[in-house]
């Protein structure tokens, strides 16, 4: 039995829709098989969790972040530059926006317990809930308008993310070092740097944060506004998502830069013969990608977490590994911007499904209830992505099975 693989002249019709769809269906099926076979998870729970998540408002925030990250990754991926370091870039975005939000945009006033009532309701003042070691209370006072502060946070996080990605970009462009390995390793360096900062320069000053690996809480006026109480999504997040999406659309479709990035991915030789400095494009693609990922860090910090929390185990960073799941989003979209929101929706749902499934497991066997939602999400996402990777071949190649004539 032999497989004959030949390249199609025209890609499979409707392949762009059929194949992702099929991958999701088959992938979920395989995942359910594994969940049942290895951990006795009833399939009905799995389908229930997925169904539930498709319409749950909780996954909106994940959807927003995945859309933005999907755009961030599509830019280098179109040029065949693989940015696996979104995690690290997000982390640096968080760190730098925390730096602005917690020590540049605010100053701290030490207040004795007796003076406390005066400050408790003063506009612009935010009293940190627990006292400091000395017994006094710390009050955060804004040093600039919230608008300016947030803008500064966004700018700084973009720069931080860009710089972090730039290192890998330079190594690839000028030293030909594979960016997959470098961006990945830099993720881990970023995690440890984060912990260092949380226990160090940005360490909280109150008794509940100092020494516990927590930073001070962000001033309420600097926090992003929640859309409703049912969701963790914010208006600023939505605005950023739309803005970044439109900007990327414009750059990729209406500038020579975007066009050449895409050609870089399919035919770098033609680009060189046209006189383009390919190296600069590689570096730029990674830098832009890192910048956008950095902005996501601000969204996480100012929109969700409001403080930096230490990373307890390397497998549970505050990003919930969204930098990796975003890769799936970009991949599923077949590197087409229009597919990003759809892919983001699906992946966010799977992510949420993991969470839902986890909570519903409590009522079943006690063994599987101990499995974290993260692991369940990995199972779902992993099988979908694997199936997709294999099925994707069909869109560009036709595969025939031939009986070997003896």
């Amino acid at each position: 039995m032999r497989l004959i693989v030949t390249k199609r002249v025209k890609p499979l019709r409707f392949g762009g829709i059929v194949i992702p769809f099929l991958s999701i269906v088959i992938g979920i099926f395989l995942a359910t098989l594994a969940l049942y076979g290895l951990a006795q998870v009833p399939p009905s729970l799995v389908y229930g969790a997925i169904g539930q998540s498709l319409v749950s408002p909780q996954m909106l925030q994940t959807f927003i972040m995945l859309t933005i990250l999907g755009v961030a990754l599509i830019i280098p991926f179109s040029a065949a530059v693989w940015n696996i370091g979104a995690e690290g870039q997000i982390i640096w975005g968080m760190i730098s926006s925390a730096f602005i939000g917690l020590s540049v945009a605010v100053r701290y006033i030490m207040v004795s317990p007796t003076e406390l009532p005066k400050y408790t309701n003063m506009p612009g003042m935010f009293v940190l809930p627990t006292p400091t070691v000395s017994g006094a209370y710390a009050v955060e006072a804004l040093t600039m308008s919230p608008g300016a502060a947030i803008s500064l946070m966004l700018i700084v996080s973009a720069i931080a993310g860009a710089i972090w990605a730039l290192v890998a970009g330079l190594m690839r462009a000028y030293l030909d070092i594979d960016e997959v390995a470098t961006t990945l390793i830099m993720n881990y360096i970023a995690y440890y740097a984060y912990n260092f900062i949380v226990y160090g320069p940005l360490q909280g000053i109150t008794i509940s944060t100092s020494g516990f690996g927590l930073s001070n809480a962000l001033h309420p006026e600097l926090r992003f506004a929640r859309i409703s109480t049912a969701t963790t999504a914010t208006w600023e997040g939505v605005a950023l998502m739309i803005g970044i999406f439109v900007a990327a659309w414009f750059v990729l479709r209406h500038t020579t830069f975007g066009l050449r990035l895409r050609i870089l991915g399919s035919n770098p030789n033609a680009l060189k013969a046209a006189g383009i400095n390919v190296r600069k494009y590689i570096v730029a693609a990674l830098a832009i990608s890192g910048a956008i990922a950095g902005i996501v860090g601000t969204i996480l910090f100012a929109g969700n977490l409001y403080q930096l929390i230490k990373i307890k185990t390397i497998t549970t960073p505050p990003t919930h590994n969204i930098g990796y799941t975003a890769i799936l989003v970009s991949w599923l979209s077949m590197l087409d911007l229009r597919g990003i929101p759809i892919a983001a929706y699906i992946v966010a749902s799977l992510f949420q499904a993991g969470i839902n499934l986890q909570s519903s497991l409590g009522s079943v066997s006690s063994g599987s209830a101990m499995i974290s939602s993260g692991a369940l999400t990995y199972v779902l996402i992993g099988f979908v992505l694997t199936t997709f990777t294999v099925l994707r071949v069909f869109s560009e190649y036709s595969i025939k099975v031939v009986r070997e004539r003896g």
Partner: protein
Amino acid sequence: MVKNLVKRFPGVLALDNVSFNLRKGEIHALLGENGAGKTTFVRILYGIYVPDSGEIYIEGKRVVFTSPLDAIRHGISLVSQIPQLIGSLTVSENIILGLEKYGMMANVRKVEDYIRRESEEIGIKIDPSTEVWKLSYTQKQLVELLRAVILGAKVLMLDEAITFLPIREKRRFFKFMRKFASQGGSVILITHKIPEALEIADRISVLRRGKYVGTVEAKAASLDTVRKMMFGERSTQITYERLPSSKPDEKVVLEVKDLWVMGDYGAFSVKGVNLRVRAGEVLGIAGVAGNGQLELVQAIMGLRKVRKGRVLVSADGNVIDVTNKGTGRVRSLGVGYIPDEPLKFGVSVENDIEENLAMLPLIARGVIKWGRLRKRAQELIDKFKVVTPSSRTPVKLLSGGNIMKVLVGRELSVAKRLLVAYNPTRALDEVTAVTVRKIIKDRVLRDRLAVLLVSEDLDEIFQVSDTVAVMNSGRIVGVFPIDKADRDQVEKLMVM
């Protein structure tokens, strides 16, 4: 013996009922122009291609090959111009990979002694434990020969394998070939150098445009008879009307001084070339493919490193040294480039015509004005009669000829001072080819464009050029103004 081989490739009939026979113990030279079908022929015999029809017989028995391994098993070996060895492995490792009698866990060192003995017998003094990347081109070809012998070759096919070797090395190969033949082996030698074939072969066969022309005994043949077989009656007539000549200006646009460029396999491909192209002049470089023209053009365009020498372009009264300064610099001076292998280096097939235009910094920068671009694309389509559903169709869906038209059209529109073209009318039908040549010549006459034209089609060279240069073995071996260029003489210089 081979009977009636037919092989078709998309758009081209490569072999049209070619028959051939090879005697035991003979050295048989196979000659022909570019595109005659010689390489296709031996690749079929080596199992790389499958013929559409026809049969192959070895010692009376019919054989069918589906892969090179089949051919090797029947004792047929092919050595190409480009060594097929893996650089980071040693000589013995490369050879042992094909020796089926050794198992997976065989120790390479043990085989090395055997290889060493065999190579000494043949007269090749290369240490088998050397890594291949350290070897010179000559040595690599010798290793290929060694490999063929060790794998038990009875028929050795050399496809321009010794073309690049210096004379002394060639003589060594000749010695080896004679010994091989005297021991009962047979050799098919593909070359375009007639004197060589006359010196070493027993018989000479000629292919022309996919058809078998004839076979002669080497002793009975002369340079002229063979040349007539290769080029046909065209060698005394010019079939195409010559385009009006241009009188070149005094101003030199492109100057190449003593250029030395390294090829891909460790030998110099360009050996001290000097050229001048003036405004309003078409300098046509004639030559058989593989004599350094490609590397020369790539070096001029900044796509290949120049080891020694200078490339100078004149712009607005200034002479600018663009040697090794990168393609962008050269292009920015208003230089158009029609490369060899247009699908790989010229256009991006996944993109459409508009995008292929916008790709060039000379056409679009920053924000793309699609409206203007569409108009420009449409102009190109109309001018060159490109057959395409629209200007937004991916180029890969166009026929080869139309892709070429897009490329030529684009480059002509950006070439302000100089156009460097390599086989610009390849894959074009005759009518379109002449149209393209006319358009190019028109730009030369009216806009005083300078053109460096490299072509494997001698007709084209004679039709378009104002000055003809001949390149052979990395050197320019003759330069003639068109009115003094004699076709016979040029052909002679090409095949010396």
